[in-house]
Structures are given as structure tokens and as C-alpha cells.
């Protein structure tokens, strides 16, 4: 059984996907039931977002009079526009985008290298290495702050976006290393050996065989790293002191005062803040499905 499984797990697939060829005729009352059930579930999951959208376009006085769950009486875009202008939101978006993209790219790269050595290379002491890398994922982030603060000050990276990029590359790649090592340890040996027989070194094997075949997992990592980094709050809050370096979630915190909260402003700004992440996910989730086809070309 096992040998067969191992082979099946990652054998490049000949067909793009399982879905398309099946005739619609196989739709049954049960299948419509499942579809309805799914639809209801997803709509329930999305309902809170509707509440956010509703309040983002509500005038503060309207909110004050009718609460969060009433429909807006008029479309009030001033809150959104005001927040955009006053917080230099374009700048924050750019900061968040730069940081998240850099972390996603570097994080995937480091994860691939680590996992290649641990999962496929099976270097000695791989469990120890894995635990070592996993520490980054395990340690409560609060515990990192003070030591990293003093180191960043030493090397002049306090109040610099690079500090955040480096820190999150490590934290995210800890997860990536773990996931990829698990996936790579089930990687079909025959493919590696075939490449070796063709005379490919480990570098070429990595880029020509391993990376293409594991592309779906890599796109998952890439997407996750981007979105996780986008949403990080504590470390950016502490390490990015200047307003000009700040990221989107940190900017949102400006609406939470000492005694009061600007609620409609928060709804508007959070809508602005999550849209890019949502769009990013929607774009990249297509590659989650497409990745297999790319892998199978090889």
C-alpha cells in the first residue's frame, strides 16, 4: 500500500483537474441540497462582512441614532474619504504592500531551501533542525520584542521597514519549513533519482523538479505569508515608529482613542484595509488550482 501511496501522492497529474469532465447530468437532488447547504454556510460566514460594509458607508450621526445594525439612510462616503486623506492611506497601503510582498517572496525562498535540505536531503539531525526552526512559530511574539528592539537599535534598523521584513521572513518561514518538509518527505524519490541520472545537480533538481511539482503548496505559502504579514499588528506597531513607515493595521489603530472609538471610521478604514488582502487572495487563489497544471507540464 504505502509504496503505491507515496507514488501517487505527488505523481504529476496528467489532467488539469478532476472537475470539468464530469457531466452535469449527474446533478441530483442530493447534490442541490449540498450546494444549498454550502451556500447557506458561506453566506453565514460572510454575514459579518456585510455589517462592516453597511457601517463603512454610514454617517456618524446615523450610526449614533440607529446603531450598527440599521441600514444606512444615505450613502455617506465622507468617512472613507476623510480617513484616506488624513491617514495618508495610500502611503500605508504601499508600506504594507512592500513589506508583505518582500516577506512572502523571501519567506517562500527560505522555506524551500530549508525544506529541501530537511525533507528531501534528509540531512542529519533533521528533527533537531525542524524544532529549531519551529521555535520561531512557537515563541510568543511578545517575548521577542525587547531583545529584538535592542538588536535593531544596535544595527540601526529600529524604525525601519527592513527590521519587520527580516523578522517576519523568519517567523513565516518557520511555518513554511515545517509544512514543506512534511510535504517533501513524501516526495517521490524516483523523480529525484531520475534527475540525478540525467546529471542534474541538487541546485538544478531543486528548480527543475522539486519547485514545479510543489508549486500548489508554494502558492499556498505565498498567499498565507502575504496575508498574515499584512495583518500583523504588534511588531509593526512597536518597530515602525514614524507615521511614514507605518502599515495599514497600525493606521487603523489611530481611530481607537483613549476614551472613545470612531466606529464608522473604523468600519470604513477596515474595509479599505482588508480590500487589498481580499483582492490579493482572490487573484492568487486561482493559482492554487492552476499550480497542478504547471507541475504536470514537466
Amino acid at each position: 500500500m504505502s509504496a503505491v501511496v507515496a507514488e501517487d501522492v505527488a505523481t504529476p497529474v496528467q489532467k488539469p483537474s478532476a472537475g470539468h469532465q464530469l457531466p452535469a447530468a449527474r446533478r441530483t437532488p442530493t447534490s442541490y441540497g449540498v450546494l444549498c447547504g454550502m451556500t447557506v454556510l458561506v453566506l453565514l460566514v460572510l454575514a459579518p462582512f456585510l455589517v462592516i460594509v453597511m457601517n463603512a458607508f454610514k454617517a456618524p450621526a446615523d450610526f449614533a441614532a440607529h446603531g450598527p445594525l440599521g441600514w444606512p439612510h444615505s450613502l455617506h462616503i465622507k468617512t472613507v474619504v476623510n480617513f484616506w486623506n488624513s491617514s495618508d492611506f495610500g502611503g500605508k497601503l504601499l508600506n504594507s504592500f512592500e513589506i508583505s510582498l518582500a516577506v512572502a517572496v523571501l519567506g517562500v525562498l527560505v522555506s524551500v531551501f530549508n525544506a529541501y535540505a530537511l525533507g528531501i536531503g534528509r540531512v542529519r539531525g533533521r528533527t533537531a533542525f525542524l524544532v529549531f526552526f519551529l521555535l520561531a512559530n512557537v515563541l510568543p511574539q511578545e517575548g521577542l520584542v525587547y531583545p529584538l528592539y535592542y538588536m535593531a537599535k544596535q544595527v540601526g534598523l529600529y524604525d525601519s521597514k527592513w527590521a519587520i521584513v527580516v523578522i517576519f521572513t523568519v517567523i513565516q518561514s518557520a511555518f513554511g519549513t515545517y509544512l514543506l518538509s512534511s510535504v517533501y518527505s513524501a516526495f517521490p524519490r524516483e523523480l529525484i533519482e531520475a534527475a540525478a541520472i540525467d546529471g542534474a545537480g541538487s541546485w538544478r533538481t531543486l528548480w527543475r523538479v522539486v519547485v514545479p511539482v510543489s508549486l500548489p503548496t508554494l502558492s499556498v505559502l505565498f498567499t498565507f505569508f502575504f496575508i498574515w504579514t499584512w495583518n500583523e499588528f504588534l511588531l509593526p506597531l512597536i518597530f515602525l515608529v514614524s507615521n511614514s513607515n507605518q502599515t495599514v493595521p497600525v493606521a487603523l489603530a489611530q481611530l481607537q482613542g483613549e476614551h472613545t472609538t470612531d466606529i464608522t471610521g473604523t468600519a470604513a478604514s477596515s474595509l479599505l484595509g482588508i480590500l487589498p488582502a481580499i483582492v490579493f487572495f482572490l487573484i492568487f487563489q486561482r493559482t492554487l488550482t492552476r499550480g497542478v497544471a504547471v507541475g504536470s507540464v514537466k
Binding site: 489532467k15 464530469l22 449527474r26 450546494l35 451556500t39 460566514v45 542529519r124 499584512w230 487563489q285
Partner: protein
């Protein structure tokens, strides 16, 4: 043989260099520093004062801290167990049922919908769910409409608060396993499913024997990472209830945060996070061992 293998391994070890070089300053040094600081009285600035085991003695007597540990089990259920199992089921339904009957587009649309809560910043999650769970909020209105009392104070009543928080955490977490498992399922040869189909296997049999079996790497990764996340969680809990009512939803990580950044009792905060780290490492190690064993038995 062994010589050849060693040479091969040596060449692979080169790939670890960037990771190790980055990990040492960003993780290893802080971990060691953290342990060092935990033996001092320090307010984050200036010279720490040696305090011996004082912080640990205090920690082991801190009844609030240990009381909050009881809630960890609830967090693990809400953030790890339920999302992983439910996510596995939903991923299989989407991949092996919806996608087949209605196409990949439908399946990925559902997947996006389930994933969206992951994108929302914790602060906003707290505000929105606060509205929905408020005494006069949406949930109570719906309950009233279907003929129930709709009077429950979901977050203010000590017997409901923890359950409500758990519900929100399931909502937050669910999309992550779904995306992970669906990505894992992409690796599986569809012929396996077709063969099983021809053998007359039911959906449930395919789910148990093919799906669950083949995405075991992802399954373990999801279980381990969500469990770790559950042990560390506090942002979502804090924005929903601030740990209340009373101490009904207090979680340990909140103490660390509070001591690090609010009270500036950095020595004590370090002791808390060191203890938490040890606990999480132990839990992680147990899982890793189980995973290795399961993988080996699966392969042999």
C-alpha cells in the same frame, strides 16, 4: 553506501545556511535573552536587577494565571480541533463533490468565502462580533424571530461568554484548514478517486480511505500550527471580552502581553513567556513525534 550518502547530505546541508543565519539573531538570541531576563527585575529600559527565581515563584503562586490555563482547553477545541475536523470535511466536500458536480469555479468561490474571516484584523473582528452578539444584537433578533427568547447576553453572561468566544474563534480559523487541505488534495491523482468510484465506493468511503489518508502531511501541519496558535491566542479574545465577565475568558498569553507592554514588568513577562514557550515546545514535540511515527508506519 554510507560514504556516498554522507556526501549527498553534506551538499544538501548548504541549503540550510540562509535559514540558520536568519534564525540565530531573530529567534535563538531572543529566546536565550528572554530566559535570562526572566531571572531579573527589569522595566525594559536601563539595567536589569538580578532577582533569582523570584519571578517564577510568583508565577507559580499567581492564581489568576493558572486559572486562565483552564481556558486553554477551550481555545484548543475552538481553534484547532473543530476547525481542523470541520475543515477537512468541508475541503473534501468542496473538492470531491462540489467541484465535480458544479465545477472548480464554484468550489473555489466557496473556499474564498470561508477564508475571508482570516483576512480581518483582530480589532475589527472584535467590533463586528460585539455588535452581533450584543444583548440587542443581530443574533438575538434572529432568535426572537424564530420564536426563542433572544434575551441571552452572549458575552456578558459568565456561562455563555466562553462558548461565544469559541464560536467566533471557529469562524476566524475555519478558512485556514479548508485552504490547506484543498491545496493538499490537488496533489492527489484523480485516477485514485475514479478507480474507487468504479469499485462502487461511497463518498464516505472515499473520504476515509483516500482523502484522509493522503493529505496526512497537511493534516498534521494544520493540527500542530492551530494548536500552537490556540496556546498563544489572546488578541481576538481580548477585543471581544477583555477577559471578562469577571475572569471568565482570561487566557494566559494576555498576562505576558500585559506585563511586557502595559505594566512594564518585563522580567515577569519574560518568565511567563518562557514557561509558555516550554509548554508549547513540549506539545509541539509530542505532535512531531506522533507525526513522524504515523508517517513511518504509513510508509512501511
Amino acid at each position: 553506501m554510507s560514504r556516498r550518502r554522507r556526501r549527498r547530505n553534506g551538499s544538501y546541508a548548504v541549503y540550510l545556511i540562509p535559514g540558520v543565519l536568519l534564525c540565530v539573531p531573530v529567534i535563538l538570541v531572543p529566546v536565550v535573552a528572554n530566559i535570562g531576563i526572566s531571572f531579573t527585575r527589569w522595566q525594559g529600559i536601563g539595567r536589569p536587577h538580578w532577582a533569582g527565581f523570584a519571578n517564577y515563584t510568583r508565577l507559580f503562586q499567581d492564581s489568576n494565571f493558572w486559572a486562565s490555563f483552564r481556558h486553554i482547553g477551550a481555545m484548543v477545541i475552538a481553534m484547532a480541533v473543530v476547525p481542523t475536523l470541520l475543515g477537512l470535511f468541508l475541503a473534501a466536500v468542496l473538492f470531491d463533490y462540489v467541484a465535480k458536480k458544479y465545477g472548480d469555479r464554484a468550489a473555489s468561490l466557496f473556499r474564498s468565502g470561508l477564508y475571508l474571516p482570516q483576512v480581518l484584523p483582530a480589532a475589527v473582528t472584535g467590533i463586528v462580533w460585539g455588535w452581533l452578539l450584543a444583548p440587542s444584537g443581530a443574533i438575538n433578533s434572529v432568535l426572537k424571530d424564530v420564536g426563542l427568547s433572544g434575551q441571552t447576553d452572549w458575552l456578558g453572561n459568565p456561562s455563555w461568554a466562553l462558548i461565544s468566544v469559541m464560536l467566533v474563534l471557529v469562524w476566524v480559523q475555519l478558512g485556514y484548514p479548508v485552504v490547506m487541505f484543498m491545496a493538499g488534495l490537488q496533489r492527489i491523482d484523480p485516477q485514485l478517486y475514479e478507480a474507487a468510484d468504479l469499485d462502487g465506493a461511497s463518498w464516505w468511503q472515499r473520504f476515509r480511505h483516500i482523502t484522509v489518508h493522503l493529505i496526512r502531511p497537511e493534516f498534521y501541519v494544520v493540527l500542530v500550527t492551530t494548536t500552537i496558535a490556540a496556546l498563544k491566542v489572546f488578541a481576538q479574545v481580548f477585543v471581544l471580552t477583555s477577559g471578562g465577565p469577571g475572569n471568565a475568558t482570561l487566557v494566559p498569553s494576555y498576562f505576558a502581553y500585559k506585563n511586557f507592554f502595559d505594566i512594564l514588568n518585563v522580567g515577569y513577562g519574560s518568565a511567563i513567556s518562557s514557561v509558555m514557550t516550554v509548554i508549547i515546545v513540549v506539545v509541539g514535540f509530542v505532535f512531531l513525534r506522533a507525526q513522524t511515527r504515523a508517517t513511518e508506519s504509513g510508509l512501511s
